[in-house]
Amino acid sequence: MSHLISIVTENLPMLQVVLPMLAAPLCVVVHHRRATWWVALVVTWASFANSVALARKVYLEGPLSYFVGGWEPPWGIELRIDELNAFVLCLVSAICAVVLIAAPRSFDQEVESDRHHLAYAAFLLCMTGLMGIASAGDAFNVFVFLEISSLSSYGLIALGPSRRALSSALRYLIVGTLGGTFILLGVGLLYMSTGTLNLVDLQQRIPASDGHRTIVVAMVCVVVGACIKLALVPLHGWLPDAYTFAPSVVTAFLAATATKVAFYVLARFLFSVFGVASSIDRFHVDWVLLPLALVAMVYGAAAAIFERDVKRMLAYSSLSQIGYMVVGLALVTKSGLTGGIVHLVNHGLMKCGLFLAIACVVLRFGSPHLGVQRLGSTHLDRLRGLGRSMPWTSAAFVLGGLSMIGVPATVGFVSKWYLVLGAFEAGKWWVAALILFSSALAIAYVWKVVEVLYFADPPRREDEVGEAPWWVLGPTWVLVGASLVFGVWTAPTVRMASAAAEVLLPALAGAGP
């Protein structure tokens, strides 16, 4: 027994990737619909526990290094966990664990029953990919796991009930593969000029060739590739359709994790690999990223206001929120980075909660095998008067929406606080103004839904529906509850985020709160 425990504790960084990675083929072997779900559930919760244990260890003992195959870097592949990716790993595994509880109900309705085991396998593979990216200490490894997560997410999105899910998935596949290939190209150029693939090693070997044109091109390639996966305006084209037409739980899962991990890749490469001295001080990546992020922030929120489909509206809101995260990064101050990183988790929690609330609505209105004519179960008009018939779902939506606006005592406020503080630290008050302007736009799109929920009559009496099952409502409330709890008890998230920011900006450690 103690032998087993020591195996687990020694292999913590590895297990969280290996568990879902092996559970996926196991799902295919098991084949039985509910049994596969149990396999997936047990494994995701185990890796969640694993990530928390890992984060605790990193927080107490400092960065961890794990040599896969026993080969030390740069020859072998290293897994390197520091405060930043421990945080991201916790988010991804937590979201997977919670969303998976809601998955069976939603899959029952939206996915044909003979392929549920494959859907769970794809879900686990996507998780594998994301966890793999977040824990990788090797640039090429990032690419490999990026492709695992991408390919599985294309498959998951295509499962959506409408035929547009297919075309959206195919378009995403084409664009996403371009993004992945750009990252591959960037990694190749880095390898070409340094001879290594290990991230820490790269960090040390790049300054020697500072000002090297190949390095600049490599940086451009990695940034473009990461921004495609991140859906930063103007590379966002794939996101609204993909989020709208994917099955509800898949949207909830991807919205909370995939873009966040892409953000992690961007931050890791810009700050750790290329280093602030090179990427910011010399080549001013922030001069490009900051305007784009600000445009994304305002454009996403403005587009959300005019959207009549709630799921799509939330997708546009995601664009806006991605803008916030990148603003935090592009401000290059301690508080800004803390804000960006804490928003990564906060937005994951609240957006996942909101999308799950929408999943509750879809469960009530949608029907299996939707044809073209039964589309639009997330149309705003469908939500009329739901405040009465689905009080818990509606309340969850309102609370998530308040967090999106950034009302104090919600997580959204915490993020905004640090972002604005970062803008002031950087002396860019106009950035602060735009951040707050975009929050004001969020009031408009959130309140549009709240009004429909509570102050509109249901269209027809026979449309009167009951509350969603607790299997879906429970996870929704767990996430919404978390976004309230971490809005008040901010110590864990903010401490981790600021520790992560210190990892990225070691020169500024000690400054700020």
Binding site: F143, V144, S162, S167, G188, V372
Partner: protein, 128 residues
């Protein structure tokens, strides 16, 4: 500009061709082909940089001294990349088949027209 950059330039031309096909051709299968060319050109770049002048394939020759071997690392990486490429192509084609079955076309603009029609039907269906 050194003389040894010819390979890179050719790779860049191929890369541009692939990218152009993806961006400009509306047929989705053609786009997938473009992606393949784009990926292949990146693979060529890696293999190019693994070559050592006068070298030989990195398979150790028993007893031989002073043999220059080409760099095996890019080969390893590109084996993986090729596999990733075929996996992506396969999934893309599977999606293309399904899209064709549902929409009856693979031209991106025609699919968009059908999607707009769907959206309007949904608006009408949702608003009733």
């Amino acid at each position: 500009m050194g003389p040894g950059l010819y390979n890179y330039w050719m790779v860049i031309v191929l890369m541009m061709t692939g990218l152009y096909v993806v961006l400009a051709r509306p047929n989705l299968v053609k786009k997938i082909m473009g992606v393949t060319i784009f990926q292949m050109s990146v693979i060529m770049l890696y293999i190019t940089l693994g070559k050592v002048a006068g070298g030989t394939a990195p398979i150790l020759i028993e007893g031989a001294e002073d043999v220059a071997y080409s760099n095996p690392v890019p080969h390893v990486l590109m084996l993986t990349a090729i596999v990733v490429g075929i996996a992506t192509t396969a999934l893309g084609l599977a999606l293309a088949i399904r899209v064709y079955e549902e929409f009856g076309t693979l031209e991106d603009d025609e699919i968009r027209d059908a999607e707009i029609a769907d959206a309007m039907a949904a608006e009408a269906g949702g608003a009733d």
